[in-house]
Symmetry: C2
Subunit: 336 residues, 2 copies
């Protein structure tokens, strides 16, 4: 391990803190039963985790690459750290799982200011603590160009209870949480302006998205969601994933889609952004006919936006009567 | 998901094959009891794994970055894929664990030839199959510069039986498997020559290192290793890790260190490379006094190279009587 990497690892280990490992670990008296314990964290060849009996393991990995997923002139370091972990937590939420531990592979350019790594870790670890997640391992390396982060989140779910993309059936209602398009609208505004360093407060849901972990867990516990996915690539793409894995189609009502508000003064985002914009990290799920869904769960509004249909097409209907097929428009991040 | 990424994911899914998932999965009649099953692989928000009762989970992550860990003009694509997974498997071996599933985050430059990704996956999946490991998920992205891979390997170990770096005690014998320095010597030769595309056959252990999974598992099963680490950063650095985590020192005998042979005609590598060169992926472990270690386990030679001592220094002794302190010389990969 070259010296700068050793220093970085020690910084991560110090910031991640033995207290977190202990709290989740063997000797701890947790106030609630945890679904897993970290037996060995940072500082060995592997992390060692003990899962509670009757639980299955969830694992997800997500890149956060400079110039692709974030820009250093737009995103403060702590926002990059927050968003990096939020991506992984959101995947656990989409299975109805409990996040347990995170692992971080971090590649930094040689000339990067030390404060950047500190800010990044602060943002990541603040979110981790909020969800009782330990940073339990990872890797570090020098990067030739740009900041490279890969986040791995491990979680648990009771045996056989993970909510899959493949669970949708014809006749299911389609629901989304929160509001859509706000994150993509923020990027559109940043692009339109020459101004650097946008005000994080005016675009909070873009800079500090909240993964819907509680919501996902409650939907699973109450048996409400039949199929589920998180909205990371955009509604049109992610709904297509559910339809593909479940071999079904869908019809959605344009006016029912809850649209985000961004900027100062705040304005509703355009329908196109709510349909195709990515990185809102809301949950999209289907519900069997006859099941009642509350208007709000875990503080998050839930809205019915359509139905699962026969066939393989996704159709958008407007109140004017116009119907059009919705093609998945892949979310292109910051690609130029 | 943009189209080129979608194509890449489909390629990975096709090459990884449903058969592998099935074989490790629920419906399969495995010829031996597996320590884990893949319930859901590629194609959902998370992979879902079920561990056997009484086992703990091991997780490790390792970067393979172009220009840092490999060079496209030296390493064939299938060697990069092989080495990428070997790094993770070697970490599982170092805990005495059984590898179960791998997850790959892969960032590729837009202009990379399709054949490269195919070769990379072929090398990775060939090694995965050999160890019964399923490629169960990951992430893909465009890279602005160079190929970026992050491999995550999940494995299992019986409860409380993982072999940690912190298990060494004063008086333990220090053993290594195989031969050291061969991988670093290969790089030295590549550098010295203007010639591109070195012959992979002459430097096989560099291009296709064998992770010591069987050896690690047997040492754990028979209770032979008290502390263990894999030699990825070099003997001087990795022995220092064991000493640090165990709060001990070490004395090693220079002439006892088994040195690799490389090139054509093959020659013994220099002592310096055996002491400091990385990426041999052999195992370094300590053994309580009185325990007998066979000369060979799972086809790999084992050699006693010294003893764990009081204090915190690592000393190298030569038969001439010269003693010198060994400073960890971090392995710098291809850093220029």
């Amino acid at each position: 391990v070259p010296l700068p990497e050793k220093a970085l690892i020690e910084q991560i280990r110090r910031l991640a803190g033995p207290s977190r490992l202990k709290q989740a670990g063997v000797g701890a008296r947790a106030t609630h039963t945890r679904s897993a314990q970290i037996r060995t964290g940072i500082g060995d060849d592997c992390a060692v985790l003990r899962l509670a009996r009757g639980s299955e393991l969830l694992i997800t990995t997500d890149f956060s690459l400079e110039g692709i997923h974030f820009r250093r002139d737009w995103h403060p370091a702590d926002s990059v750290g927050h968003r990096c972990l939020a991506r992984g937590l959101s995947d656990i939420a989409a299975m109805g799982g409990d996040p347990v531990a995170a692992f971080l592979s971090l590649g930094l350019p040689r000339d990067l200011a030390q404060t950047w790594a500190k800010g990044f870790l602060r943002g990541l670890l603040k979110l981790a603590r909020r969800y009782g997640v330990s940073l339990a391992g990872g890797d570090t390396a020098e990067s030739r160009d740009g900041i490279l982060a890969d986040i791995i989140v491990a979680g648990t779910v009771p045996k056989g209870k993970a909510i899959l993309r493949s669970g949708a059936r014809v006749g299911d209602a389609i629901y989304v949480s929160g509001e859509l398009g706000g994150s993509a609208a923020a990027i559109e505004r940043f692009r339109a302006r020459s101004k650097k360093n946008p005000n994080a407060r005016d675009y909070f849901r873009h800079f500090y998205p909240e993964p819907r972990v509680e919501l996902g867990r409650i939907l699973r516990e109450k048996g409400l969601a039949a199929a589920m996915i998180d909205l990371s690539d955009g509604l049109s793409t992610d709904l297509a994933h559910i339809c593909e894995e479940s071999s079904v189609g869908a019809e959605i009502q344009a006016e029912s889609i809850p649209r985000g508000r961004v900027g100062n003064p705040a304005r509703d985002v355009e329908l196109e952004l709510a349909l195709h914009g990515g990185e809102d990290y809301e949950l999209l799920f289907t519900v069997r006919p006859g099941k009642r869904i509350p208007a709000q769960v875990a503080g998050v509004a839930l809205r019915c936006i359509g139905r699962i249909t026969r066939g393989r097409k996704i159709v958008v209907r407007k109140t004017t009567g116009v119907r059009s097929e919705l093609a998945p428009q892949g979310w292109e991040h910051f690609r130029r």
